[in-house]
Symmetry: C2
Subunit: 196 residues, 2 copies
Amino acid sequence: MHEERYQQRQQHLKQQVEERVAAATKSGGIIMVFTGNGKGKSTAAFGTATRAVGHDMRVGALQFIKGDWECGERNLLERNGVEFHIMATGFTWDTQDKAADTQAARLVWEQGVRMLSDPGYHLVVLDELTYMLTYGYLSLDEVLAALKNRPAHQSVVITGRACHREIIALADTVSELRPVKHAFDHGIKAQKGIDW
Amino acid sequence: MHEERYQQRQQHLKQQVEERVAAATKSGGIIMVFTGNGKGKSTAAFGTATRAVGHDMRVGALQFIKGDWECGERNLLERNGVEFHIMATGFTWDTQDKAADTQAARLVWEQGVRMLSDPGYHLVVLDELTYMLTYGYLSLDEVLAALKNRPAHQSVVITGRACHREIIALADTVSELRPVKHAFDHGIKAQKGIDW
């Protein structure tokens, strides 16, 4: 590309970016949702936690679905002050007992309710929350109420497939992760340091 | 849902999952790509780094595009041993000098070439690499060669919009982040602990 055209294009980009930045004046806690069937939803949620912890912000995290096996992101983030509460039943398809699953979900969610009403938390991660609503372990109304009534500066990250449309409507930032391809579908097993 | 139907559904899920897990027998380093216009690409890349560091794996990270301003994920990950190399020119639309931008990209990429040939690194993060190819700062052939010739157990995460189709073809796991909505588009500015 000729230098002149390069400069024109970059100048145009610069103006666009500057206009958009100038228009964005509000701040405060936001709700982020990572949904869809692609790889990277929880990874992005804990990447956000990493970012917040790197600024010495207090972070709480609930992990629904996932069991209590070792997990790299939890190892590092717990060592750095993030408070985790885990639905330690493991994958629900391993338990097959709705009453027990519901109770396990509710126990974890109680910690979420506490965090979502405590201004001391800057970020609350609700990992795999969407399934709790899909399976009916938690009620949509109580989740929406807790999200709406949280402290104004507190941000929340929600992950999981098939996020309920009312949570999408309430959220500020929503990314749908579309699986273009996944190593698992080509016979590569889940691996330490990549998948957990 | 009746308990019996619940158990049937969960049993079916359990079988499906177990069959897929049994079919996935390969392991080794993989290439992951987070692309698309949605929020969360770099966040997922550094979430992967957090996961690997939590298992005491050695991680190297290149940050193209991004400047050298403070960044939460870098703060925490650097404190925990991740090696960062940053293209400290900032956004290219701020510099408007192609020769200087190309040179800055090449300096960072040289560190990548070194990491991608060093079996000591379990994970190499190439954050915002796609733009370096789009803008012609790096050649596709040299990037593909470095990726293909890396140590067999080494994984790589690549982020950025509009990832080149040949990198997609080479990758094992690719998620496209589709922006359902973004706080920035509704006047909420980029915020510490969320966006950087």
